[in-house]
Amino acid sequence: MRAEQEHEYVEYVRARIPRLHHVAYLILGDGDRADDAVQNALTVLYRRWHRIADVSNLDAYVHTMVVRVCLADRRRPWSRVLLRDAAPDGPVAGGEGRVDERLLIRQALDRLPERQRVVVVLRFLCDLPVAEVAQLIGRSEGTVKSRTAYALAALRRAIPSTTWSAP
């Protein structure tokens, strides 16, 4: 890649890292894994940079790439070995209202069945439309909607109603 193209790439990347990391963090729930995913996506972007002028909406394109890397990351055998959650040796929350609400929501999300969690994270945390989620996970829009309904019902039941009062 020519020097000026590399310069453009670096400036583009610098401006987008925080937002891309945010998306990856919402999906993966771990800052290090999020950084790995962003780096992986940006590496692919580097390879394609010379023909990126053909892409009409670059931000959306890169955003989708990061989401895809994250979805793949969640499924790989490696994550079982290296990145499994802490030893299952204690409850995640007390019952005394002192638990950080965000931790509570994160844990509730983590405990959803994978297929439901993915649609909730993409739909509401990443704010993607149903059609785009359907395309990303290779399922029909109807499936995305039904999984969303199941997941929201589970979250409503799982999270104490007091948690949902306005902050």
Partner: protein, 383 residues
């Protein structure tokens, strides 16, 4: 309502990236060059996550709980050699003699077709690209998965070639996860169902004929391991109950410790099975899982005895009932006779995990970080 709260959670959740644009460029450039040079189809992203691992501040992790035992004298660790061009890796499985070991390069680029490393007597080779090995037996028969995500199919690597296993009638996806001494392969097939698909544990007979479905009253069933006598251990429903099927296909729920209502079966060797129990009932709706507590459980399938609460996250159980896995925060260890035994790491490494414990109970395969921060596939002996 709840959807708004989720959006609010997303807005208020923040995590600072440690990536710097200049470093991203350097790694991307390096990876690009590697890709151009490399002829094989393995991950182009070998170097990518390395720095992230190396830079993880040790102070960011909570204190490691006390480890009760010490590694026995003579317990040693050595790294397994990597194929040319691969700089890091981890172990997935090994056969009960330790002769065959399966691993993956690190980092494993999931955007690319799968790459599996098979060591035979310590010598590595790459299996055909696109095949992800999950288990291997003492005859060198490797079970695994061909294809990715929604297109995955149970497959084997045998006599130098990958072959798909026959899918049960109507299955849209399948995966093989375990293989026993006589070549029976356990896995899970996915059939069209409501709302999207239903899962059925399956066993392929030796020779890979038509698989047998393992049922439990119409619930989803998942296989995790198969013992040499054909016993399959797994789970019914979404983490609803650890379960076993006899070689004849008769299923029974594995008992749970008092006070626990759900759980999973995760591995089996000989008379021993290992898994987890949760105070949640599990289930597709995830109800009550939020505040649940879970523990490690070990079952003796012959006597019906059960014990729980071992301080290890196990990945494997030995024929003598020892567990191998991760202890503390991120360290390799085994649990044997009530004691957690830490395993030594490579020089300069501070993290690692055991992936599998082989037949003698003193040989273990897994990974250890190295001084550079890269994970290396390792073999522990005499431990």
């Amino acid at each position: 309502m709840i959807d708004e709260q989720l959006r609010d959670y997303a807005r208020r959740t923040s995590s600072a990236s440690r990536l710097r644009a200049e470093d991203v460029l350097v790694r991307a450039r390096r990876s690009h060059r590697r890709r151009q040079v490399a002829l094989s189809a393995f991950s182009a992203l070998v170097l990518v996550a390395v720095v992230a691992v190396a830079l993880r501040p040790s102070g960011a992790r909570p204190p490691v709980p006390a480890i009760t035992g010490a590694a026995p004298d003579g317990c040693s660790v050595r790294s397994l050699p990597l194929p040319a061009g691969i700089t890091g890796g981890s172990v997935i499985a090994a056969d009960p003699t330790g002769r065959y070991v399966l691993g993956v390069p690190f980092p494993n680029d999931d955007m690319a077709p799968a790459v599996t490393i098979l060591w035979t007597d310590g010598t590595p080779r790459l299996l055909p690209t696109g095949f992800a090995g999950t288990a291997v037996n003492a005859s060198g028969l490797v079970a695994g998965i061909s294809g990715r995500l929604e297109a995955r199919r149970a497959a084997v690597f045998r006599d130098g070639a990958v072959a798909d296993l026959p899918a049960p009638t109507g299955a849209i996806m399948s995966e093989a996860v375990a293989v026993n001494a006589r070549g029976e392969i356990a896995g899970t097939a996915y059939l069209p169902g409501t709302p999207d698909f239903s899962a059925r544990a399956v066993v392929w007979p030796p020779g890979q004929g038509i698989p047998k479905l393992l049922q439990s009253g119409g619930k989803d069933t998942f296989a995790a391991g198969v013992a040499d006598d054909g016993t399959v251990v797994g789970t019914i429903g979404t983490r609803e109950h650890p379960y076993r099927w006899t070689a004849a296909g008769a299923g029974t729920a594995l008992p749970l410790p008092s006070g626990y209502r759900g759980g999973e079966g995760q591995a089996v060797t000989g008379d021993w099975a290992v898994g987890s129990a949760s105070t949640s009932r599990g289930g597709e709706d995830g109800k009550d899982e939020l505040t649940a507590e879970s523990v490690v459980v070990r079952w003796n399938l012959r006597t019906g005895a059960l014990d729980h609460g071992m301080r290890i996250v196990p990945t494997s159980v030995s024929a003598a009932g020892a567990l191998a896995g991760r202890v503390g925060r991120d360290e390799p260890g085994i649990w044997r006779d009530g004691t957690v035994v830490p395993l030594p790491m490579l020089t300069g490494g501070t993290r690692g995990a055991a992936a599998t414990i082989v037949g003698d109970g003193h040989t273990v395969a897994g990974w250890s970080a190295t001084a550079s921060g890269l994970p290396a596939p390792v073999l522990w002996q005499g431990c």
